[in-house]
Point group: C2
Chain length 375, copies 2
C-alpha cells in the first residue's frame, strides 16, 4: 500500500522521529493534535524537506462524542468564555489545590487560558477539519483518525486526493463501522497501548478485527516495541504494526527530560488507564497526577474536551517546572505511554530502533521456524 | 521437557478434557482446586486409565496471602465456625438480597455450609498439601501452582519424585521470585486471561518474563485460543502455550448449560476483572453477579477465601437454578473466562480444538514466511 520496506508505522508528535523512521525504511505518522494549523504547516514542510519523497502520514484526533457546550464554543458560538464556563469551579479549585499541595508554582493565567483554548478547540470537528486541510496540501501517503469515525469530509477529501484513510479502533464492532464509513486501513489497538484505548488486549483484538474486516488490511497496535512483538502481531494476521510509545525515549523525541527519565525507569506495571488528562480513558504513566484525579478527594475528571482544557495548561506548567528539578512537579509529571514502557530502558536514535526491530523480527522468525523444523 | 508433539498445555477442571488433549498430542493439566482429596484421587485414576501413559499434569491453587482467621480454621483451630464467623453479617444479607432481587430460591443452608467449608479449606496451605500428596502418587508429569510461590514442601516432594514444578505469574518480578523458589517452568499469564490475573497483557508480559528468567522455559497464557495466537506466543519467545478458557465450550467440558450458552454468545468485551468470586481479582464473564458485587449498593467483596465461602455455595445454587430456565439465575450465572471468549463461538470436541490449533499454527507460520520472502 505504501511501498515501504518494513511494515512498521511510527506514530509520533515529533517531526524528527517521523522523518527518521520514514528514512530508515518504515513510515512515520505525525500526530497533529498538539499543533495549530500554522504550526502543522511548518512541521509538514520540514518533513517534506527531510524525507526525499519517502512516504509519511498524518494523524488527527476526531472525537465521536464531545461535550456540546465545548462544541458550540469551537464553532464560535459563545467563544472561549462558554467553554471555560462549562468547567465547574470545583474542578478549578481542585487543580489549584494540586499545585499548592505539590508546591509547584501555578501557571500564568493568561498563558493558561490561551493554552486551554487550544486544548478545547482542537478536538472539535472544526479544529480537526482545519488540520485535515493543511495535511492534504502536502504529499502525505496516509491520513489517520485516532478517535471515532472519521468525518465524511475527511474521507471524501482524502479519497479525492488518492490518500488512504486509517482509523484506530479498540473493538471489532468499531472496526466494522469504520470500514462502513469508508476507511481503507484499520489500526487495531489493544488495551495495553498508550493514549486513548479500550480494554481488549492486542492478542485477542487483532485476530478478531482481522476476521471482521477482511480483506481490509489491519495494523496491530498496543504493546509493540520490539521485533519479537512485531513478528507476533504478524502471526496474529496483521499486515504491519503501528507503534507509538517506543519513540518517546528516542534521541529525537521532544519528551520533556523529567518524563523521559521516568519512562526509562518505569516497569510495565507503572501505567494506568485514566480519564485525568483528556476526559476519555487514556493509558499513561501512573503519577501523582493520575493518583490525585482518580483518588478519593477528587471531584472526578470531566468529559472530553473539558478535562483537556483543565489538564493541558497544567501539564505544560508541570513539565516546565519539573525541568528545573522541582520535586512535586516531578511527582506529578507523566505522559501517555503503553505497557511496553517496561521494555524501553535505553535512549537510542529512532533509526536504530527501526534497525533493531528488523533484526529481532528476523531472529524471531528463525526461532519459530527452528521450533517447527522449518515447515 | 514432556516429550509432547505440540507445545500446548490445557488447563481444565474436567478430566475428559485433560485426557482428550493429552491423547491429541498436547498435554492436559487438571485443575484440582474444586476437588476434595478423595475426589481428586478418583479423577486421576480415571485419567491414568484413559491416557495410555501419555503425559498429563495437575494444578493446585496455593495462595500467597490468605485471611488469617480462615487459615486458622483450615488448620482446625476453631473449625468451620471460626471461618463462617469471619464473614460479616452485612455480606450474608447482601447475598440473601441478591437471591431475592433476582427471584432465585436461596440455597439449602446445610448444603451451603458444606460447600462453603470446602470453598474455604481448599485454599489454605493444609488443603493444598493434601491435594499435592494425592497428585504425586500418580504418574503426573507436571505439578503447577496457580497463585503465589509454591510451598517448599511442593517443590521438595516434586523434585524428589522428578516432577517439574510450574508456576503462573503476572509480572516479571513474580517470575524472578518463583525461579528463586525452585520452579522449573514459568507460565506467564497476561491480564486478558480468565481466572486470577494481573493487568499486564500477554504481548508485553511474555517477552519481559522470557528475558527475566532465561534459560528457564516460559509458557504463554492469556488470550490464546487459536493457532495464530499460539504462533504469536512462540514469536514472543515462549516455548509453548497454556490455554484454559478455550476448553470451556468443548463437548467434554462440564460447564453448566446456561453458562456455556452465555460463553458462546459473549464477545471479547463481555469479561471483567472482579473480586466477586474469590476475593482476588479474577477475570470472568460479566453478569448480574459481578455488576451487583462491584456496584454502588454492594458492601464490596471480602478477601480470599472469605469471598469464596460466600460465592461458592451461591454460584452452585445459581447454576442449578439457571439450568431450570430461571431468568434471574441466568442473569447472575457466570464463570471464569478470558477475553478470548469472543473467539469461542462453536462447540467442538477438545481433540478437534487441538487439531485446529495445529493447522492454524502451520498456516500462520506459512503466512509469516510468505510476507518476508521466506528468510
Amino acid at each position: 500500500m505504501f511501498g515501504i520496506e518494513f511494515p512498521l508505522l511510527a506514530f509520533s508528535h515529533c517531526r524528527d522521529v517521523v522523518a527518521a523512521v520514514t528514512n530508515a525504511g518504515g513510515m512515520g505518522v505525525l500526530g497533529a493534535v498538539a499543533y495549530t494549523p500554522e504550526r502543522l504547516e511548518e512541521e509538514l514542510r520540514w518533513i517534506d524537506d527531510h524525507v526525499d519523497g519517502r512516504p509519511y502520514g498524518v494523524d488527527v484526533l476526531v472525537p465521536g462524542k464531545i461535550d456540546e457546550s465545548a462544541e458550540r464554543a469551537g464553532r464560535g458560538e459563545g467563544g472561549l468564555d462558554t467553554m471555560l464556563a462549562a468547567v465547574p469551579r470545583e474542578h478549578w479549585r481542585f487543580l489549584a489545590g494540586l499545585f499548592e499541595k505539590y508546591d509547584v508554582p501555578p501557571p500564568d493565567l493568561d498563558r493558561a487560558r490561551r493554552t486551554h483554548r487550544r486544548g478545547g478547540t482542537q478536538v472539535t470537528k472544526e479544529g480537526a477539519t482545519e488540520l485535515i486541510e493543511v495535511s492534504l496540501a502536502h504529499p502525505i501517503r496516509l491520513i489517520a483518525s485516532a478517535l471515532g469515525t472519521p468525518p465524511p469530509l475527511m474521507v471524501d477529501k482524502a479519497r479525492a486526493a488518492g490518500i488512504p484513510v486509517a482509523a484506530l479502533v479498540g473493538t471489532a464492532e468499531h472496526a466494522r463501522r469504520q470500514v462502513a464509513a469508508g476507511v481503507d486501513l484499520i489500526v487495531a489497538q489493544g488495551g495495553e497501548a498508550g493514549g486513548h484505548t479500550g480494554e481488549i488486549s492486542t492478542m485477542v483484538l487483532v485476530p478478531e478485527v482481522v476476521d471482521t474486516v477482511a480483506p481490509v488490511p489491519v495494523l496491530a497496535a498496543g504493546g509493540i516495541a520490539t521485533g519479537r512483538q512485531m513478528a507476533a502481531a504478524l502471526a496474529l494476521g496483521a499486515s504491519g504494526v503501528w507503534c507509538g510509545s517506543v519513540w518517546l525515549t528516542t534521541e529525537e523525541a521532544e519528551t520533556s527530560p523529567a518524563v523521559k527519565a521516568k519512562l526509562l525507569a518505569a516497569t510495565s506495571r507503572d501505567t494506568v488507564r485514566s480519564r485525568s488528562r483528556t476526559g476519555k480513558p487514556a493509558r499513561q504513566l501512573r503519577s501523582a497526577w493520575t493518583d490525585e484525579w482518580d483518588g478519593p478527594a477528587s471531584p472526578g475528571p470531566l468529559g472530553m474536551p473539558l478535562q483537556m482544557i483543565l489538564a493541558q495548561g497544567a501539564m505544560a506548567q508541570i513539565d516546565k517546572v519539573a525541568a528545573t528539578g522541582n520535586p512535586g512537579a516531578r511527582e506529578l509529571a507523566n505522559y501517555y505511554v503503553g505497557q511496553c514502557v517496561g521494555l524501553m530502558n535505553t535512549v537510542k536514535p529512532a533509526r536504530q530502533v527501526v534497525y533493531d526491530m528488523i533484526e529481532e523480527f528476523a531472529d524471531a522468525l528463525d526461532r519459530l521456524n527452528g521450533i517447527t523444523g522449518g515447515d
